[in-house]
């Protein structure tokens, strides 16, 4: 089985991390990272990047923003009443 180039590996990286690649490509990708330390690091740290962001909510909805949204909507609804 011919080795993938780093460029080919990078093109498949997102699908690989999302577990969307078929078994044959997956095998080739794993073979590549076993032999290419740079791509191994990029793969590992990109995976960690995704994991760190998954759990975060840096912009929780402030209560006053909610109140003003409800107020704007109620006004609009009142205007639209027949």
């Amino acid at each position: 089985m011919p080795l993938l180039t780093c460029k080919q590996f990078m093109d498949e990286l997102s699908d690989y991390l999302d577990e969307k690649t078929d078994a044959e490509i997956r095998k080739k990708l794993e073979q590549h990272i076993n032999e290419c330390p740079n791509c191994w690091v990029i793969c590992d740290t990109t995976k960690k990047t995704i994991q760190i962001y998954k759990g975060m909510d840096p912009f929780p909805m402030p209560p006053d923003v909610h109140s003003r949204l409800m107020f704007a909507l109620e006004q609009k609804m009142a205007r639209n009443k027949p």
């Binding site: 990078m10 330390p37 690091v41 990029i42 740290t45 975060m56 923003v65 704007a72 909507l73």
Partner: protein
């Protein structure tokens, strides 16, 4: 995973709202206002603009609810409105430069890793919640708006590639290439904070 949405149950709420049921529309608002606000904050990076986007999105959705076809999720429909509103805000602020989801800036150069260094096992634990939030937020802020929208929808809201394409009016390959670039650029930025101290790329080989 975001809380599972019962499509049939939601379709019923939307149908009620379309009949003019204010309570049903408020229910939809309650479900999605937080996500829309977060998306608007990520794209505009400005609280005042994000609040405007949030209001404009739900007021427009209310006004045009009869145009919602029900073939997609309600959320992807309002995301589309919100992203358009948010990009309009950005265009107004940077009037000299157009901002579009379709900007072609695919030179490939921006995905080239500048620094290849391994990270600690749980690198985020070296930082307090506030510091971590600032680091992660700052890295997203540095992304181009087109990448921010795709990244937030795919990796924070956990929409599928198809749903993200639908919400943003992009093709599936366009979503995939933007997501890859966003992820790699964020990885590159975070490496500055999370790399193993005193390590080089091959120290663990």
């Amino acid at each position: 995973m975001s809380s599972p949405i019962d499509i049939d149950e939601e379709a019923a709420v939307v149908a009620q709202a379309r009949l003019g049921d204010a309570t049903a529309f408020s229910e939809l608002l309650r479900r999605y206002e937080g996500k829309i606000f977060r998306l608007a904050m990520h794209i505009t990076q400005n609280r005042e603009d994000a609040e405007d986007v949030l209001q404009e999105t739900f007021l427009k959705a209310y006004e045009h609810l009869d145009q919602f076809q029900g073939q997609s999720k309600f959320y992807t429909w309002i995301v589309r409105i919100a992203v358009n509103q948010a990009l309009m805000k950005l265009r107004k602020r940077k009037s000299d430069r157009s901002v579009s989801l379709d900007d072609t800036i695919d030179t490939g150069e921006d995905t080239v890793a500048r620094e290849i260094a391994g990270w600690d096992e749980n690198p985020e634990q070296q930082y307090s919640r506030e510091e971590l939030s600032r680091i992660l937020g700052g890295a997203v802020e540095d992304l181009a708006p087109i990448y921010r929208a795709v990244f937030v929808l795919r990796d924070i809201d956990e929409l599928s590639t198809e749903e993200t394409a639908d919400a943003l009016g992009l093709s599936i390959p366009a979503v995939k290439s933007r997501l890859l670039r966003a992820r790699l650029q964020l990885r590159d930025k975070l490496t500055r904070f999370f790399k193993r101290k005193g390590d080089d790329a091959f120290a663990y080989m």
